[in-house]
Symmetry: C2
Subunit: 335 residues, 2 copies
């Protein structure tokens, strides 16, 4: 499979950060792949209050760590000079380094030299793999469930990860398929779909969820929104290449307009269901919506239950907040 | 405007070719922009029977030529060594070189060195401009007509160029907007939409047809097909960013399946009209189909007229072959 692949176990680099809100990637990795994380590494007093010991590069290497994961961002997306000593030490010792910053690890000459010498890989998660083919539209074996959204940042990744977790608990054969940076770091592989040249986006989505066993489920992280004025092509390319038999609509309760595109009202859940079904039929006539996943963090406890019940009645579909309810209701409907 | 721009007048490089079918780009340029072409340059006895004199680089330079346009392709898309002397001579003299081969001019070290020294530009038409922004969806002034297709290679570029020609003849204020390689060489500017990273495709399409006078028309070259299993995301991104008020459906008479994707039946013209209208409404509620343009080269003379009449009656739209009929009927309906 032509995807980025990350070798576990991991040491998470939090730099000088101390607050959870500045380290979303690293915390996401710790939350969803705790068993693959061996330690954390802060500099200049940086430390996160999570159950991961501070470790130096040497200690982590001795403990068998294969990859240093950059779990935070920098102002402007550059590679701060004060991080570089740590990275070069890791590269010298042969540890892969994985980052999603704008400035690429492979563009830092000293770091590249150290990595080339030791054989360590510098993995820039934003850079898609080479040689992605054009989409074929050919039917693949196995089952696929795609997350779609009324907008960006409504919980598509979280819903997909919760589905994978809950399906694994239920003993099902399932893989989360990551199409964005944080998702790739959590999954340990994937393709940053939005960074692919548009001619190849459906081909990339095809590679992301390859042929599989008949009873295997790929739970595919969605991107953008099919009504989004900036990103609808991303969503369509991912939909066409994924050829899902089922999809979940993700939504954030209370959102009125497309985030950052305030002149565009948010589409209704019904509009998203209708358009996704209509467009997805082209590659999979079976496609249907199996549930609605809502981020209800802006609702009060009193509002939450009636809001979800109301939606569920309106659409005749299970309707859950994956953080608070889990996804079992959607899984039951899917199966 | 962030687009590729080519300086006229031109010398067209046909290499060793002698047959029209091997030099489509160069012949397209000569056909549609004859007044900007000063000469042709063949090597090893290459020569095309068109009204353009053979010229050396020196002669062309003396005649005021600013750009050498590679008007043919090579086997495999590489830069043949036997072409390089000519290119280096052109670069040395300060002449820009424009090509759409897979192997980039800027990747040939000796050529790059010569160009850097003289200030000549090496313009790789396949490479999109840098710093393309994400699409805003903001309404722009001026009028826009997008070519869409039942498939790739059905005459979208030809139809757009014919519309521009016929609208200019009618004294209208109009620009052909090129979204593909050959189109860009003909227009002298544009963006290779299918080579843009998918996150930015709608932004690229927005840049391609910027704000303009209220009575100005942009005739936008289409790409792919909205039902295409490989390229539908290209078509959607171009549609959303173009926000056209009108579109023309292009079709090739007799085609049954999507070219190269034989398992996929060609969508009907009605399906393309419906889906384009539905998706395009998101950014321009006025959008409507103003005509059908058919490549009828595979029909006999007896079949042609009834075929077009039949389509015209069925859809209630002007229906023409742009090569044989011109596009006046569509222009009349547009205005």
């Amino acid at each position: 499979m032509i995807t980025t692949e990350i070798k576990p176990p991991y040491l998470i680099f939090f730099a000088e950060k101390k607050e959870l809100k500045f380290v979303k990637t690293g915390i996401g990795l710790f939350e969803w792949r705790r068993d693959l994380c061996v330690g954390q590494l802060g500099i200049d007093g940086g430390h996160l209050e999570i159950e991961l010991p501070q470790m130096s590069i040497k200690e982590a290497h001795a403990a068998g760590v294969k990859s240093l994961i950059i779990g935070t961002t920098s102002i402007g997306g550059g590679l701060p000079a004060q991080w570089m000593d740590t990275f070069i030490e890791a590269a010298n010792i042969g540890m892969d380094i994985v980052g999603g910053l704008h400035e690429q690890l492979n563009d830092a000459p000293d770091l590249k030299k150290a990595a080339d010498k030791s054989g360590a890989k510098l993995i820039d998660i934003r850079v898609p793999p080479k040689n992605i083919p054009v989409g074929t539209g050919k039917k693949r074996s196995g089952k696929r469930v795609l997350m779609v959204g009324t907008d960006c940042a409504v919980g598509k990744k979280y819903t997909a990860l919760a589905l994978e977790r809950d399906m694994l608990k239920a003993g099902m054969d399932v893989d989360f398929r990551a199409s964005g940076q944080t998702g790739i770091i959590i999954a340990g592989k994937g393709i940053p779909i939005d960074a692919v040249v548009v001619d190849f986006i459906s081909g990339a989505a095809e590679i992301l969820s390859p042929d599989n066993a008949d009873n295997h489920y790929d739970i595919i992280e969605g991107q953008g929104g099919i009504f989004h004025p900036g990103y609808s092509a991303v969503s369509l390319g991912l939909l066409i290449g994924s050829q899902p038999g089922a999809f979940v609509v993700c939504h954030k309760a209370g959102r009125q307009n497309i985030g950052g595109w305030d002149d565009f009202p948010l589409p209704s859940i019904q509009q998203v269901i209708d358009r996704t079904t209509e467009l997805g039929k082209q590659v999979n006539p079976e496609i249907k919506c199996v549930g609605i996943s809502v981020n209800t963090e802006d609702l009060s406890d009193e509002e939450r239950a009636p809001y979800l019940e109301n939606l569920s009645k309106k659409y005749g579909l299970p309707c859950i907040d994956p953080i608070k309810d889990g996804t079992d209701a959607i899984i039951a409907n899917l199966v």
